[in-house]
């Protein structure tokens, strides 16, 4: 029993629970932004299950492919695949099975929804991780597009099609991702450099990266506000979004004007909290 639990914990760490949870949250928020109060519990459970499997599968496939560079970076060298604690072939099989089951389940619920989930997986694993991540720092754009797919998928499932609100919501996630990733790549600049992974700081310098973070934060906050207005959120929720966006912009501008490790770390953490809270607001409003 003890060894089974240890094994589960080991394999569980392959899915990056926080990241998976956050992406799942965006998908849920996209769905609930148009389908509340919820009347189709089976569809909701299908959304949660299929998205969880597809996101987990793609995360495992990323970890499987990146295990060589993970083993060169201090931050990631203890990950189970990088540390050699898990057989790579088993991880590959697990990642493929979870991805396939997740996408198949998604298609069975709704074809458009399934296609968007598949697009997210494809952009993340093939375009971002395998093709571009080791070649150009602009790979982050494709990581962002892929990150915006769960919320678009959730929205498409609830409305039955693609609408401008869903696209703006996915744009909000797309432009939020540079804030999250670039602050991270500044913090672990040396790690990425050692592994030979091109990042914005290594390609364009810290100043330009901070400017890019500030601009993307502004666009993300604006997109979130426009989408929230499009959803029809009441003024109370919109005021709350304004406050949260003001915090994001203040930190981004502070990082630009007076750069420091502390502000950079604060921005990184706040950006995650911003996205989580924004999604929570949408869910709460819908409920």
């Amino acid at each position: 029993m003890k060894s089974l639990l240890a094994k589960l914990r080991l394999y569980g760490s392959l899915i990056k629970s926080l990241q998976t949870g956050l992406l799942l949250g965006t998908g849920l928020a996209g769905y609930m932004s148009a389908s509340c109060p919820i009347t189709h519990w089976t569809t909701l459970l299908g959304l949660i299950g299929s998205l969880f499997l597809a996101i987990s599968g793609s995360t495992i496939l990323n970890m499987w492919y990146d295990r060589d560079i993970d083993s060169q970076m201090d931050r990631t060298r203890k990950r189970p695949l990088a540390a050699g604690k898990i057989n790579p072939l088993v991880a590959l099989q697990l990642g493929l099975v979870l991805s396939l089951v997740g996408v198949a389940w998604a298609v069975s619920i709704n074809v458009l929804y399934g296609l968007i989930v598949f697009a997210g997986l494809f952009f993340d694993v093939v375009v971002y991780t395998i093709w571009l991540k080791r070649r150009t720092c602009w790979s982050i754009l494709w990581g962002g597009i892929s990150g915006g797919m769960p919320i678009l998928a959730g929205r498409a499932l609830s409305t039955g099609g693609l609408d401008w609100v869903g696209i703006v919501l996915s744009l909000a996630v797309l432009f939020w991702i540079p804030t999250h990733i670039m602050t991270f790549s500044m913090k672990y600049h040396e790690d990425y450099k050692a592994a030979g992974v091109p990042t914005f700081p290594s390609s364009y310098g810290f100043s330009l990266t901070r400017a890019a973070v500030a601009i993307s934060s502004i666009v993300a906050a604006l997109s979130m506000g426009i989408a929230a207005y499009g959803i029809g959120m009441t003024w109370g929720y919109l005021r709350m979004l304004v406050v949260l966006s003001a915090g994001l912009l203040t930190l981004a501008v502070s990082s630009l004007m007076k750069p420091s490790e502390r502000v950079n770390f604060g921005l990184f953490k706040y950006a995650s909290l911003y996205m989580l809270t924004s999604m929570l607001l949408m869910v709460m409003y819908g409920a």
Binding site: W235, Y237, R239, V242, V243, A246, T250, K269, Y270
Partner: protein, 203 residues
């Protein structure tokens, strides 16, 4: 470096943030535009202060912007109260808020010799704090609002206390030691926010 933040500190700050968020979302509807945005500013800063303290720790208080931004809490709260309850004072008080805020911001941005910057800070904080403390009490005594609204005055007293403690600490003339202030700060922020939220629930 400040003292390490304890789990209790984080819980108190989280509760402060939740209360402030509640007030922003549902607590200030049915007012005119200016009070709504004034209260949103005040509770928004309280919410963001709670979040940033949790994320970054007490070190965030080292930022020179803290003095200026924290001044906005009593200024915007008092502006909202005056705008709602004393129509005759609306424009003069709005002018005081604008000038007071700019005076604090400039006195922090430009090095001024002597005690002028501390005096400006104490004056602006003091007047705004007294308005938040006395106005609700006066309205309750006159029977214009329910007795529970006096809680806003309690919040005003607490914000005056906390604001002045922090302001003088930042100005380099601490009334209490930094450690003592940081020990009571999360609890003070929660009590203050709870008093405001509780008080506003009566109108």
């Amino acid at each position: 470096m400040g003292p390490k933040m304890s789990a209790l500190d984080r819980i108190l700050l989280l509760a402060t943030g939740v209360l402030a968020a509640f007030q922003i979302i549902v607590g200030i509807d049915n007012l005119s535009a200016l009070p709504i945005w004034a209260y949103t500013t005040a509770f928004g800063i309280l919410l963001l202060a709670g979040i940033l303290l949790i994320i970054i720790g007490f070190d965030v208080l080292d930022s020179p912007a803290v003095v200026v931004v924290s001044t906005l809490i009593p200024l915007s709260l008092s502006l909202g109260l005056v705008w709602e309850h004393i129509p005759a004072w609306q424009v003069p008080y709005l002018i005081f808020v604008a000038i007071g805020f700019l005076a604090v911001a400039f006195s922090r941005a430009i090095p001024i010799p002597g005690k002028l910057s501390t005096f400006v800070l104490a004056l602006v904080h003091g007047i705004a704090g007294l308005v938040i403390f006395l106005l609700p009490l006066g309205l309750v005594i006159q029977g214009k609002v329910p007795a529970g609204f006096a809680l806003v005055g309690v919040g005003g007293a607490l914000i005056g206390l906390g604001g002045l403690l922090l302001a003088f600490l930042k100005a380099g003339r601490p009334v209490l030691s930094r450690e003592k202030i940081l020990t009571v700060l999360p609890g003070l922020l929660l009590l203050m926010t709870a008093a405001f939220v509780g008080g506003f629930a009566f109108i």
